[in-house]
């Protein structure tokens, strides 16, 4: 009864605004990560990251090994692309990208069923010290991008501008999107590897900075993960921040605000307040890239939703078509109305089961009738729920009104460009107004106008 007086009560951090969707993580949170059997064919787009697409290196008919470089980073903000199976390059052609739907050069590779790994990939773990430059080089070579969904090339993030003083590295273990449990499973099953990866990232950042704090930010609905990481924190000298379960807790700016009470300035980046944020999955990939020289050609995804028979957490090769995953998960139990890449709030609805898993795919959700909301949009009743939900302090309903009237100047004045498209407003809207759609459009229009 008096436990609120207890001395070591954990302080829980949070941010203003946000929403509380139903978590729906119970479907998969206790499912250990399973390896998906090798796909027979993979589709690997040369653009799976923010920035320029990679340059193709192989010709049709070439033999490849698992982990072999097939696309080379083009320019500073770009990432290497590797084959995820061994076999033969069947084709290189423009196919619709699963996240943007625009046509992107894509390698189609047919498996030889052998899964022969590139010789450079090491088999055994060997304790070793790496220099900052070595780490950045290895991470770059491995084609690692942010695995939380944004897919920003990690090597770029590891080399912040020299004039920015970095004092904190936050490893993002929030996983605030409902349904998704891929990060959680990784934290429970590979905590030591994630920690080693985080220490590598810290080491890389220490090239120009000293005494960087390492903090793991985990939402309080992941008790087991918090417990595990707390048990390691003395040995490896890091902190664990318990965060309130609230969407969008995992959004970079909100996470920094919650843990450090710092606000990334409007239009700025975490660098500007001395912080780098990396996802737990990214930390794990960095561990593999440094200790094993293993490129990023597989990742953990959550397969869930009301329409799929067996809900699982899977280790999947990049480029695996959804069809294979559906088959492995026992098929559908009801007619599927919507397939979502990512979480249900920010994820992207895709139109075909031929679409492949890419580096930024955190999960695949199969929604049937019950979950798909097709209610008609109604007029805004100015209830203010969107205002309360907006973690950025915007007035979504007003912005929507301006965009509808094409008053882009006004929308800009009301900070439309600060919108992070988290969807909290649209989630909360009782009139079912497509606010995110409106804001994406409005932003594009403003950017178009300014380019002219």
């Amino acid at each position: 009864m008096f436990n609120f007086l207890a001395k070591n009560r954990i302080k829980k951090f949070s941010f203003p605004g946000g929403v509380h969707p139903e978590e729906n993580k119970h479907f998969t949170e206790n499912c250990p990560i399973e390896k998906l059997p090798l796909p027979k064919i993979v589709y690997i787009p040369l653009s799976q990251h923010t920035g320029k697409p990679a340059k193709p290196l192989l010709n049709i008919g070439d033999k490849v090994k698992t982990g072999q470089l097939i696309g080379e980073a083009d320019g500073r903000i770009s990432a290497n692309i590797h084959s995820s199976i061994s076999g033969t390059v069947k084709d290189l052609k423009e196919l619709p990208h699963p996240l943007t739907f625009s046509r992107v050069l894509t390698y189609i590779i047919e498996s030889d069923g052998e899964d022969i790994w590139d010789e450079d990939i090491k088999k055994d773990f060997e304790e070793k010290d790496f220099s900052s430059d070595e780490i950045i080089e290895k991470v770059h070579k491995a084609g690692i991008v942010g695995l939380g969904g944004a897919a920003f090339p990690t090597a770029v993030k590891l080399s912040p501008p020299k004039d920015k003083v970095i004092d904190t590295l936050i490893i993002n273990g929030c996983e605030c999107e409902p349904y998704l449990t891929n990060d959680y499973r990784l934290m429970v099953e590979k905590p030591k590897e994630i920690i080693l990866g985080a220490l590598l990232i810290k080491r890389a950042l220490e090239k120009n900075n000293k005494n960087i704090r390492l903090i793991f930010g985990i939402e309080d609905n992941k008790e087991k993960a918090i417990e595990i990481f707390n048990s390691y924190k003395k040995d490896y000298n890091f902190e664990v921040s318990t965060l309130k379960t609230k969407y969008p807790q995992g959004a970079e700016k909100q996470l920094i605000k919650a843990i450090l009470k710092r606000e990334v300035p409007s239009g700025g980046l975490p660098f500007d307040v001395g912080v780098v944020v990396q996802n737990v999955g990214t930390a794990y990939a960095c561990y593999e890239s440094c200790y094993f020289d293993k490129p990023l050609f597989e990742r953990v995804i959550t397969v869930s939703g009301s329409g799929i028979k067996e809900k699982k957490n899977l280790l999947v090769r990049i480029g695996t078509p959804i069809k294979d995953i559906v088959e492995y998960c026992g098929g559908y139990i009801s007619e599927i109305k919507k397939i979502i890449f990512g979480g249900p709030i920010m994820g992207i609805a895709i139109y075909s089961e031929d679409m492949p898993v890419v580096k930024g795919t955190t999960g695949i959700l199969f929604f049937n009738d019950k979950d798909v909301i097709l209610e008609k949009e109604k007029a805004c009743i100015r209830c203010g729920r969107c205002v309360e939900a907006c973690p950025m302090g915007l007035l979504p309903c007003e912005l929507h009104k301006f965009i509808q009237r094409r008053e882009l100047e006004r929308a800009k004045e009301y900070s439309l460009l600060d919108c992070i498209e988290c969807g909290s407003c649209a989630f909360a809207c009782p009139a079912r107004i497509k606010l995110v759609q409106s804001f994406k459009f409005g932003k594009q229009e403003i950017i178009k106008k300014e380019r002219k």
Partner: protein, 333 residues
């Protein structure tokens, strides 16, 4: 296989609160007070309410057809407007009054401005103001005593509602008369009648108790924000401690809060989403503004009651309040 999946922009899940759900909940929340109206003022009260609702729905439907809008009679908003309008009518008005009022509320105040979400005045209150201006005699002389009490709630002789009695005495009576009246008005007996609703007044405004039952339900559900009613009532409470008629009466502030249409106005009309600010700070300012105006009208104005006019005036000020209470944008100074 292609083409059978729905593709839409995120988010793919939504909160289960919808406009219709909110509106119908407000209707439910008004039911106790409606039943109370029937109990205190007889079956005619129920007829007046139903008449108001029916004519509002017909008006809404006709507008939907004429303006080629989606039929919106089932969304509950016209029902709320018409119930609130009826709640603001004296119990003995002729039957044409709610019909004219509902028509005005729905057609002129709501639909001509674009329908739900676009009106800048509270339709029920604007219609009431229209009725008061068009039929002043009918609207002020149609008060009757509740079945089990008196109009004033404390004196069998007075033929006016508590607030009107005080106003009339202030203008026409001696200071001694006023002191005697206020002594009675702030007595526990009088306050009890005001709280239960056993006094004269508009149909739905008299029973603070029944209105609060509905209001608490809406507050718990999160369908109304506590900020407006709280700041509104608190302002009235504090101001009535200072604006005293002649001398201090121990329960005068409580009397001010539960008499007239304040409870109805603060919880059900000032909180109307469409016509009140969307910002948190704005809502507090809106409530304080309503409170100041209400107390000014009650104590110094030409009408005995000022709730409806205060809210209407603050409705007009809403865009301005919003402009100056924008929340601070994350990362901006």
């Amino acid at each position: 296989m292609n083409g059978k999946f729905i593709v839409s922009v995120s988010p793919h899940i939504r909160n289960d609160v919808t406009v219709d759900k909110i509106m119908w909940s407000v209707v439910w929340a008004l039911i106790p007070a409606a039943i109370g109206a029937g109990y205190f003022f007889g079956i005619k009260a129920i007829f007046l309410i139903l008449l108001s609702v029916i004519s509002a729905l017909i008006s809404e439907y006709i507008c939907n057809i004429i303006f080629k809008r989606e039929v919106s009679i089932f969304d509950g908003s016209a029902v709320i407007t018409s119930i609130l309008l009826a709640f603001n009518l004296p119990p003995n008005v002729p039957f044409f009054i709610p019909i004219v009022g509902s028509f005005f509320a729905i057609v002129v105040v709501k639909q001509l401005f674009g329908g739900l979400g676009y009106n800048f005045l509270n339709p029920a209150l604007a219609a009431r103001a229209f009725l008061v201006a068009s039929f002043p005699q009918t609207m002020s002389a149609s008060y009757t005593a509740p079945y089990y009490g008196t109009i004033s709630g404390f004196d069998a002789i007075t033929q006016a509602t508590p607030l009107t009695a005080i106003r009339n005495t202030k203008i026409m009576g001696t200071p001694q008369d006023l002191e005697i009246l206020l002594n009675k008005a702030t007595s526990w007996e009088s306050l009890k009648n005001l709280f239960i609703g056993n006094v004269g007044g508009c149909l739905g405004e008299t029973s603070a108790l029944l209105l609060l039952i509905g209001a608490i339900y809406l507050l718990i559900k999160g369908y109304i924000d506590y900020r407006i009613p709280l700041s509104y009532l608190l302002t009235c409470f504090i101001l009535s401690l200072f604006i005293l008629p002649i001398k201090r009466f121990p329960n005068y502030h409580i009397f001010q809060i539960i008499s007239g249409g304040l409870i109805l106005g603060a919880f059900f009309m000032a909180t109307d989403y469409v016509t009140s600010p969307i910002t948190k700070k704005g809502r507090i300012i809106f409530g304080i503004g309503c409170g100041i105006l209400t107390m000014l009208i009650r104590h110094f104005g030409g009408y005995p009651e000022g709730v409806s006019f205060s809210i209407l005036l603050m409705n007009v000020a809403t865009p301005l309040i919003e402009r100056y209470t924008k929340p601070r944008v994350f990362g901006k100074r």
